[in-house]
């Protein structure tokens, strides 16, 4: 199967550097053993099918969608936090109008989900889901509470470090990213096969938010910065 040489007029997106993404099989994370493909992926030169994707506009977002502390009658329990950052491409250019979806456990480490049977209390004032769009500078901001760590059954005494799930739609179907944001200094990193699945240390550190005193609001909430980098491509004359 020869690789086509004529890739037409499509400006190809950059490929990710070796070791910067997790492998499909990672034995310490048991669920990968039955679910990861064994044959090599077929490398696809980019066509219109890969470089296009769903785009979003302002009308999609509700007033409390980016404030997870105001979605119920009362306030959720827990440490109130601001999570903010920018979505950039790998050239450092902002990605505007990117749709971010987040979901997380409550302060006790329990998800409002039928399959989560961890015996920690649910919080009637916390759903744990939000969404927002980046502005013209690629910036976004959520107000939420810090999620708790929680146990899982992967191995004996397994605990996930506290994290917030992020789903990001950038400009193309190939820039689609689902990831997790962690908190600085978590002692559980060393024991977590999901966090440790990324071979390259510098890439792994991208997943750890930074405490930021400037983002922190006095008498109100701690601030954490989490920048997200999506795949980019060389500039074309058509792009502003």
């Amino acid at each position: 199967m020869s690789r086509p040489t004529n890739e037409g007029s499509i400006t190809q997106y950059h490929r990710t550097p070796a070791g910067s993404q997790p492998p499909s099989l990672c034995e310490p994370y048991q669920a990968t053993v039955r679910r990861s493909p064994t044959r090599p992926l077929i490398v696809l030169p980019h066509t219109l099918s890969e470089i296009t994707g769903p785009l979003y506009g302002r009308e999609e977002i509700g007033e409390t969608d980016n404030d997870l502390t105001r979605q119920h009658a009362g306030e959720p329990l827990g440490e109130r936090i601001i999570v903010t950052g920018r979505v950039l491409d790998d050239n450092g250019r902002p990605v505007p109008n990117a749709l971010l979806e987040v979901w997380q456990a409550n302060a006790t480490g329990r998800y409002r989900h039928k399959n989560d049977q961890h015996p920690a209390p649910l919080d009637p004032n916390f759903t744990g889901a939000g969404r927002t769009l980046t502005d013209e500078n690629g910036s976004y901001r959520f107000l939420t509470i810090k999620p708790g760590a929680y146990p899982w059954l992967n191995h004996y005494n397994a605990w996930r470090p506290a994290h917030i799930h992020f789903s990001i739609f950038g400009r193309a179907f190939l820039t689609r990213l689902v990831t997790q944001m962690y908190f600085p200094g978590d002692p559980l990193f060393a024991f977590d096969p999901i966090f440790k699945s990324i071979p390259d240390e510098k890439a792994r550190e991208r997943l750890i938010s930074k405490f930021d005193l400037e983002t922190t609001q006095p008498q109100w909430a701690l601030g954490f910065r989490f920048d997200i980098v999506l795949r980019g491509r060389d500039a074309t004359p058509f792009e502003a």
Binding site: P4, G8, P37, H165
Partner: protein, 190 residues
């Protein structure tokens, strides 16, 4: 490239909260959409043939004329009014989910040729540290023999990319995704 892209991490088992509860999209094509109606049932199975009840499938496709609703599609065609082309569903207990759509038109390939009608598919699940990409083609479509992406796939594995029509129910198609094992579906590094 100046910055390392953010690594992927698994969507885990609780993605319903953020990725589908308010944003499932079963109906990619409404009643006004032009094109041949397609009811597509996708099923996701693990290496032992067990269904995944905790996967989410996303679909991205062109309209019936082969036009994507996106500014980087610079073909001189007008996109079907109201067309988005995106679908997203979580799988049920039996590993399946259904989409209502249309057979897309042909879009340009690598050079001057056209691709066969296809849907672009991303699969997210617990146990997948990064989403998997595959494509749904339509078995029996005469354009398949000219498709430059199918041509990249070893002949004996091409069947894994074909949705099969249901002889008893016209317009109904099924597509099984085997993550692993003998019938392993072809996945792409995009």
């Amino acid at each position: 490239m100046e910055l390392i892209p953010t690594p992927s991490q698994t969507a885990g088992p609780y993605f319903h909260l953020g990725m589908t509860e308010t944003r499932s999209v079963k109906c990619i094509a409404g009643p006004q959409t032009k094109g041949e109606r397609v009811w597509l049932t996708c099923r996701v199975l693990d290496g032992e043939g067990a269904p995944l009840n905790d996967a989410v499938i996303e679909i991205w496709q062109a309209d019936a004329d082969g036009k994507y609703n996106h500014p980087d599609d610079m073909q001189k065609k007008t996109v079907d009014p109201g067309w988005v082309g995106f679908g997203r569903m979580a799988t049920e207990e039996d590993g399946s989910c259904e989409f209502e759509t249309i057979r897309p038109g042909r879009v340009p390939g690598f050079g001057s040729g056209l691709q066969a009608p296809h849907l672009n598919v991303a699969i997210f699940a617990r146990g997948l540290l990064k989403q998997l990409y595959t494509r749904v083609y339509f078995a029996g479509d005469p354009a398949n023999s000219e498709d430059p992406v199918i041509a990249l796939v070893p002949p004996q594995r091409r069947d894994t990319l074909m949705a099969e029509p249901d002889a008893a129910r016209p317009g109904h198609w099924s597509f099984d995704i085997h993550l692993r094992g003998e019938q392993e579906t072809v996945f792409f590094d995009v």
